[in-house]
């Protein structure tokens, strides 16, 4: 109670700002729903409980208040207008505000939402609608409905508050104090963190970098292992260097041995020769000394003696040659005797030459004249034909006579050419037109334009007809369908509709009864006017009814038959059209697209073909002109032929060829004189030529006679050549005579020289004998043997020196003679020892060379391997991949470190911000939620202490007494409604703090509360009202009403709206009933509860808790509230209506908050 007092005192001092203050004092309903002419006067100020059973009109009353303030919404108009019991829709609220009392009158005009609204002052004067405008501007209807005039449905739908301004008061945690949204910052940090670490959708930067680092790490590890390989290569190279040195030494040794062996092979001949020379020299011994030059002198004497002998022999030969030569020059004595005659003829040689030249010149001139004449003739076009110079027919006169025929021939030729050109032109024009037309027709795949045009027109017509048939068929089908539907409809059936029949039956029965009544009266002998009238009326009515029935049936039958006939007619027409359509489909191609497009194509084809018709007429005109030109050409050609015949006849008449043209004839007449002159000159020269030829023949005869006499043979008849032959023979004879004289003189001289040479030979023989005696030998042969022996010894010595020099020069610098000697000794020893055959030098050399080759190969391989190793070592050492990979790895590790550090910073920031969030959630909750927490604590008797929300979330959480955080949605329905009631009270407080003070109307919001909760709620509401708020609580539950009564709250009961008299009395103030707290039976269903409450609602029948029927348990916070599952029919009905209204008015609707 201390808490309650404190709370109460706190609430009682709530400062209410100046602003919108409305307190309802009176309700007047002209007509609204079930209420008509209801006046609820004297509405108490703080808290009023309005009691009424279900369908008593409590919700209608709350809706009326909403309507007066915010107008006739569509739903309200539909539901509550027109009033059930008549009257005008609308009414008025009397209210008191800070500015005094006033009335809000709103009546429906049947159309507009706002209706007719007026503000009236207390004195009835109309006021400005500032009050309503102020209300609308600060509280919209949605807020009002969810905060100030709340039904059970609105209470449960917390989400609807979110959409209102009131939502800000609940969830705006920061309250606009900060510059940024903490949630946004948290989100940004989280996003940055996710970018680093990744999320379910993508890998983060850190993972990427780690992958890259691992990749590079592996690469570095692999590359670092290259050092082992490099070391192996290095070691191998070192070993190889050692091996190379050894191989090199071995090779050098082999090279030396091979060199010695090669030298031995090369020197073997010289070596053997030198040794042989030594042996020969020792075998030849010594030779006695001889005078120096004795051999030369002896040889000189022998040479001179031999020379003299050869000279003598040569002289003899020369003598014999001279003799033979003398004899080779014979003498033609006859010719030598005719020497003078030949000389005389030789003097005629120049004349003979001149004569020959004249003959040749004349022959040439005659030939030239003939050629010029022939060329003139050819120039005249006569060719090689024989010229009629001799006959004398060709003269200027005769040539002039040919001019007439020539002119005719020329004219005829020109006419023929002109006709041919015209014919060619016309024919070309015709061909062009023909090609153009053919091309166009080919384009249309036809050769005959007329036929193609006819076909195209026919096809277009058929397609057009086909389309018309199709349209007509569609039209007929629709008509048939409509007609069939019409005929099938009951109104057009042959039988009368049941309703008509029923009416007719009723009418028949009615009039029958009248008739029977009349007859009955008659039967009772009650003859009066009424009976007669009834009889007549019944009879006539019966007849009329029957007649009307027959007329109706006849009309129906007629109408039906008529329709049937129309239907048959339409069917026939449709069948005919289908037959025609099938025929046309057979005629027309089956493909080609829709008929409309095909019609367009066909019409286009027709139009294109029609455009070709003028071209065809042009072709016909061109053909006619061409034929005319051809006829004209034939006629001109005949004329030309006749003219040409006349021309040929005239030519033949004067001896000219018939092929001669008029132009050639003109040339011939122009050159006639010059040709005649040429002919005469040629004849003179021909005569002179004959004269010269005769003179030449005379001279030739003389020469031939001389040749025959002297015995000179001749083959050529040319006198000039014959003369030269004779003259030459004479000169030859003269030369022979001179040569014979010279040979004779030479032979004499030669005899003298031969005698002298013979004396000199004798002297030389004497000197040789003297020389041999000086040498002490008897003959020249002994002397020569002695000298030869001495020369041999000299030669051998010289040869040995030469060979020794060569041997020395060959081995110099390579080895010493001892090595060679040893090599020979080895070879000799090997060859001499037959038991142990050794190697010859060549064999040994070959073995050594093989060994050297092997060694060189090995050395080469070693060098190559060393080169490969060096290259590999160099390549490996130059490889910078490892350094590059380590550099990249360092860069990635740097990035990784930066990213990792950034993640740590982000995470630290995020952690700190989360802490700030918690601080804010704990210390900076909105004032509305703080107030709601106080109400909640009061309503739940301290079981729940705090209602709060998290930053950035529109979800309510509740702290229980143990500090445990629970989501509102996880609580029981009763507890949730306590929370929501707390929030409403807090929101009303919040609005009051902002200057908006409006009555709080709660319509059965305590229906789900058990007695304990209801009592707590009643106390809270009472204190809330005491704090300055007007509160209207509508309830249909008597126990609730009793609870309020027990708190001395003004409780009033609504009148029975079905009883106008009761309505006129207005509501009744219920007497307080200070009894014990009522309890309620545990009901099995909501209906039971409602019925039970309704039954037990009487004051003297309040059920008490008993062992058999325990009261609704108070500990409903943990157990499901039975009321939560069962609501009254009225609430269920309202819920549906309100749901529909909410759905329509608040589109798009947001989903319910989880707590709702």
């Amino acid at each position: 109670m201390t808490d309650q007092r404190a709370f109460s005192s706190e609430k009682s001092v709530l400062p209410i700002k100046e602003g919108l203050h409305v307190r309802i004092t009176k309700v007047e309903i002209d007509g609204f729903g079930v209420w008509s002419n209801l006046i609820l006067p004297d509405l108490p100020d703080p808290l009023t409980v309005v009691y009424g059973p279900n369908e008593a009109g409590k919700t209608t009353l709350m809706q009326f208040i909403r309507t007066v303030l915010y107008g006739f919404s569509t739903e309200r108009r539909r539901r509550y207008l027109p009033p059930v019991h008549g009257g005008n829709g609308g009414g008025q609220l009397n209210a008191a505000g800070s500015s005094g009392e006033f009335s809000i009158v709103r009546r429906s005009d049947g159309k507009a939402t706002q209706g007719d609204v007026r503000i009236l002052a207390a004195d009835g004067s109309a006021q400005d609608s500032d009050l309503l405008n102020s209300l609308y501007s600060q509280i919209d209807e949605s807020t009002y409905n969810n905060v100030f005039a709340v039904g059970l449905h609105e209470l449960q739908e917390l989400a609807s508050i979110n959409d209102t301004e009131a939502g800000q008061y609940l969830y705006d945690l920061t309250g606009g104090l900060d510059r940024v949204s903490l949630i946004e910052v948290l989100r940004e940090l989280k996003a940055a963190q996710n970018r680093l670490t990744g999320d379910e959708h993508r890998a983060g930067q850190l993972l990427d970098l780690m992958d890259e680092r691992n990749r590079l790490d592996n690469e570095v590890r692999q590359l670092a292992n290259q050092v082992n390989q490099w070391v192996r290569l290095w070691a191998e190279r070192t070993a190889l260097e050692q091996q190379l040195t050894e191989q090199q030494d071995e090779l050098n040794h082999l090279q030396l041995e091979i060199r010695v062996a090669e030298l031995a092979v090369n020197l073997r001949d010289r070596w053997t020769r030198r040794r042989k020379l030594d042996q020969e020299l020792s075998a030849m011994g010594n030779v006695p000394s001889l005078p120096e030059g004795i051999v030369e002198r002896l040889n000189s004497l022998n040479e001179r003696i031999d020379q003299r002998r050869k000279q003598r022999a040569q002289m003899k030969l020369t003598y014999y040659k001279l003799r033979d030569e003398f004899r080779s020059f014979p003498i033609n004595r006859v010719l030598w005797g005719q020497q003078s005659r030949v000389q005389a003829l030789a003097e005629q040689q120049d004349w003979l030459s001149a004569l020959t030249a004249q003959i040749q010149r004349l022959e040439s001139e005659v030939t030239d004249s003939d050629r010029v004449l022939v060329s003139h003739q050819q120039l005249s076009g006569l060719g090689n034909a024989t010229m009629p110079f001799a006959s004398g027919d060709l003269s200027p006169i005769t040539l002039k006579s040919l001019r007439g025929p020539a002119r005719d021939l020329l004219d005829a030729t020109r006419s023929l050419d002109q006709a041919k050109r015209e014919y060619q032109s016309e024919r070309d024009e015709k061909n062009r037109t023909q090609q153009q037309l053919t091309k166009q027709l080919n384009h249309h795949k036809t050769t005959n334009l007329t036929e193609a045009l006819g076909e195209a027109r026919q096809q277009a017509s058929q397609i057009r007809r086909r389309i018309q048939i199709e349209e007509r068929l569609d039209q007929l089908t629709r008509s048939l369908r409509d007609l069939e539907e019409e005929m099938e409809s009951p109104a057009n059936a042959r039988l009368l509709p049941i309703r008509t029949l029923a009416l007719l039956g009723v009418s028949t029965s009615f009039f029958g009864m009248w008739l029977l009544a009349g007859l009955f009266r008659g039967w009772l002998n009650v003859s009066d006017l009424i009976g007669s009238a009834m009889l007549w009326i019944g009879g006539l009515g019966l007849i009329g009814t029957i007649a009307y029935k027959f007329w109706l049936e006849h009309s129906l039958r007629f109408y039906h038959d008529e329709n049937q006939e129309h239907l048959d007619c339409l069917d026939r027409e449709a069948e005919n059209l289908r037959v025609e359509q099938r025929d046309l489909d057979c005629l027309l191609p089956s493909e080609g697209g829709p008929w409309v497009s095909r019609l367009k194509t066909a019409e286009k084809e027709v139009a294109e073909l029609e455009r070709l018709v003028p071209l065809e007429s042009t072709l016909e005109t061109a053909s006619q002109r061409s034929e005319s030109a051809q006829t004209h050409t034939s006629r001109v050609a005949n004329d030309f032929q006749e003219t040409r015949t006349r021309w040929a006849t005239a030519l033949l008449a004067i001896g000219l060829p018939e092929t001669t043209t008029p132009d050639q004839l003109d040339q011939l007449s122009a050159q006639y004189e010059s040709m005649l002159t040429l002919k005469r000159e040629a004849d003179i020269k021909r005569d002179e030529l004959q004269q010269r030829r005769r003179e030449l023949e005379t001279l030739q005869t003389r020469l031939q006679k001389l040749a025959n006499e002297t015995g000179l043979p001749y083959n050529d008849d040319d006198p000039m050549n014959l003369l030269r032959q004779i003259t030459s023979a004479l000169e030859s004879e003269s030369h022979s005579m001179r040569r014979r004289t010279e040979i004779r003189e030479k032979a004499k001289q030669l005899c003298k020289e031969h005698q002298q040479c013979l004396h000199q030979s004798d002297d030389l023989n004497l000197k040789r004998e003297t020389l041999l005696s000086e040498a002490g030998v008897s003959n020249e042969q002994a002397l020569m043997q002695l000298v030869e022996r001495r020369d041999q010894i000299r030669q051998l010595k010289k040869e040995r020196e030469k060979i020794a020099g060569e041997i020395e020069s060959l081995i110099s610098g390579q080895c010493c003679e001892d090595d060679i000697r040893r090599e020979f000794e080895k070879a000799e020893k090997g060859s001499a020892d037959m038991n142990q055959p050794g190697q010859t030098i060549e064999q040994r050399l070959k073995i050594l060379q093989n060994q050297r080759q092997k060694c060189e190969d090995q050395l080469k391989q070693s060098f190559e391997r060393r080169g490969q190793l060096a290259e590999q070592i160099k390549t490996s050492a130059a490889d910078r991949k490892l350094a590059k990979a380590r550099f990249q790895l360092a860069a990635v590790e740097e990035q990784l470190a930066v990213a990792s550090r950034r993640w740590r910073v982000l995470t630290t920031s995020y952690s700190i911000l989360q802490e700030v969030c918690r601080i804010y959630e704990a210390q900076h909750q909105p004032a509305t939620l703080r107030a709601a927490s106080q109400y909640l604590e009061r309503l739940t008797s301290g079981r729940y202490r705090r209602v709060w929300t998290r930053l950035g979330e529109e979800v309510l959480y509740v702290d229980d007494a143990d500090g445990k955080v629970l989501a509102a949605e996880s609580l029981s329905r009763g507890t949730r409604e306590q929370i929501f009631l707390s929030l409403r009270l807090a929101l009303v407080d919040s609005y009051a703090l902002r200057g908006v003070v409006l009555p709080l109307i709660l319509d059965d919001v305590l229906v789900n509360f058990d007695t304990h909760r209801a009592r707590a709620a009643a106390e809270v509401l009472q204190e809330f009202a005491d704090a300055g708020h007007q509160v209207l609580v509508f309830t249909c539950h008597e126990h609730v009403m009793r609870i309020f009564q027990s708190l001395s709250v003004d409780v009033r009961q609504l009148p029975d709206h079905n009883d106008p008299a009761d309505v006129a009395l207005g509501w009744q103030v219920m007497d307080p009933l200070p009894t014990q707290i009522p309890t309620v039976h545990v009901a099995k269903s909501s209906k039971d509860v409602v019925e039970k409450v309704a039954v037990d609602a009487k004051p003297d029948a309040i059920p008490m808790a008993s062992a058999e029927q325990p009261a609704l348990h108070v500990d409903a916070y943990d157990e499901p509230n039975l009321y939560a599952e069962h609501t009254s029919d009225e609430h269920e009905y309202e819920w549906k209506i309100d749901e529909a209204e909410t759905r329509r008015d608040q589109q798009p609707a947001k989903p319910f908050l989880r707590a709702s």
Partner: protein, 407 residues
């Protein structure tokens, strides 16, 4: 009689196997240079040794990891050592953590001019120079169980012989000063550093080629000259072909995005003129008061500027690649934001509580992991620790500030 002067080269930490780090989007035209840079720089050192006619070269650890360098590294060293041998230059190679002596393949014989000794084995003192008149003695510096430097062997007392200590790792400077060596050549640190000059010169020559943003500035080797009087003179040989560099750009409150672009372009020109033959990997550090922090972080300004600066790479022979743009002020949030009665204020206060060690610890390894995760990814994300580091909390604060500020 004075001893003849001589010179030697002191180099270390080649890490020939290690590529450039932190370059994630290098252009293809720069890729080869980035990969070859350690080798090119090392070759320059050996060339310099020949040109400077040094007596010997000291290689003090981490020259190459045989397992990761591949054949290229081995071949390179053998080739270079052979060339040095042809010029009579000896190499004394002390192994480090990544190039233990045992890893060198036995089959690959180093040239005879190379002398290797290990940090893990006791090595006899080595006399350098003619046997009858040595010029120097190499003394191996190792750490004893207590972490103090120990000299293997006894320093020569002769005025004719210079005692040179060689070591790999971190050593106590004072203890080294007492060791009696004239020059302590040390390896194992990538940035060049001279710890002492008297009485001993204690010097880390650093790596020859910077590999990441933490190794900015010039790198190379140290040329050491021992005079006749046994005094030690050092000269730096800069051989790095690619240089990491942080260039500071000072801003004021009035500087807008356009002005920032101009300042960066000017800085680019300055660097290009400074050393046009070198490739620069530049990180631009924006200092001074500026209102561009939010734009640089979230507004895409930094990305746009980087894109613009990178587009000038290799243009006009200027090889300056922008690695990134950092702002010293972009990491700060106005104190008033922490006091706001807003989500932002609440957020920043929650971060501050974590930074101060209050509040419920954040466990990044369990509840906050997105589900499901592969084991590998889970392992990766939890590698850095269960709870966010302070710097990560600061980044979260900035991120929240950007997201919740609402501008």
């Amino acid at each position: 009689m004075p001893s003849p002067p001589f010179r030697f080269l002191h180099a270390s930490d080649f890490h020939l196997d290690r590529p450039m780090m932190g370059i994630t989007d290098a252009p293809s035209s720069m890729l080869d240079d980035l990969i070859d840079a350690p080798y090119d720089a090392a070759e320059q050192i050996f060339q310099s040794a020949i040109q400077e006619n040094v007596e010997f070269i000291l290689l003090l650890g981490d020259i190459l990891n045989v397992k990761l360098a591949g054949p290229r590294g081995l071949a390179f060293l053998v080739d270079q050592f052979s060339k040095l041998g042809e010029h009579g230059i000896a190499i004394h190679w002390l192994d480090g953590s990544s190039d233990p002596l045992k890893d060198w393949p036995a089959a690959v014989q180093l040239p005879p001019n190379v002398h290797r000794f290990s940090t893990t084995s006791s090595t006899a003192d080595l006399l350098i120079g003619p046997q009858e008149q040595p010029r120097a003695q190499l003394l191996h510096i190792v750490q004893d169980i207590d972490g103090k430097p120990q000299i293997s062997g006894s320093p020569q007392t002769s005025a004719m012989i210079t005692n040179i200590g060689v070591g790999y790792g971190d050593f106590d400077t004072e203890q080294l000063n007492l060791s009696g060596v004239q020059y302590a050549a040390l390896g194992g640190r990538h940035q060049p550093q001279t710890l002492a000059t008297k009485p001993s010169v204690i010097h880390y020559c650093g790596t020859h080629q910077g590999r990441g943003q933490t190794e900015t500035g010039p790198h190379g080797a140290t040329l050491v000259e021992i005079t006749e009087t046994q005094s030690v003179q050092t000269h730096r040989l800069t051989v790095d072909t690619i240089r990491w560099h942080t260039e500071e750009i000072k801003l004021n409150e009035n500087n807008g995005a356009e002005e920032l672009g101009r300042l960066l372009a000017r800085g680019l020109e300055k660097l290009a003129n400074k050393d046009p033959d070198r490739t620069w990997l530049v990180t631009w550090l924006l200092t001074g008061p500026s209102s561009l922090g939010h734009q640089l972080r979230r507004g895409g300004l930094a990305k746009g500027l980087i894109r613009q600066l990178r587009s000038r790479f290799d243009s006009n022979s200027k090889r300056i690649w922008t690695v990134g743009i950092e702002s010293s002020k972009s990491g700060s949030i106005e104190p008033s934001s922490y006091e706001e009665d807003t989500i932002l204020g609440e957020y920043l206060r929650a971060i501050r509580r974590r930074q101060q060690g209050h509040g419920t610890p954040i466990d990044l390894t369990t509840g906050l992991m997105p589900q499901p995760l592969s084991n590998e990814l889970r392992q990766l994300l939890s590698q850095a620790g269960k709870s966010p580091e302070k710097c990560e909390l600061q980044e979260s604060a900035l991120q929240g500030f950007d997201l919740l500020h609402g501008d």
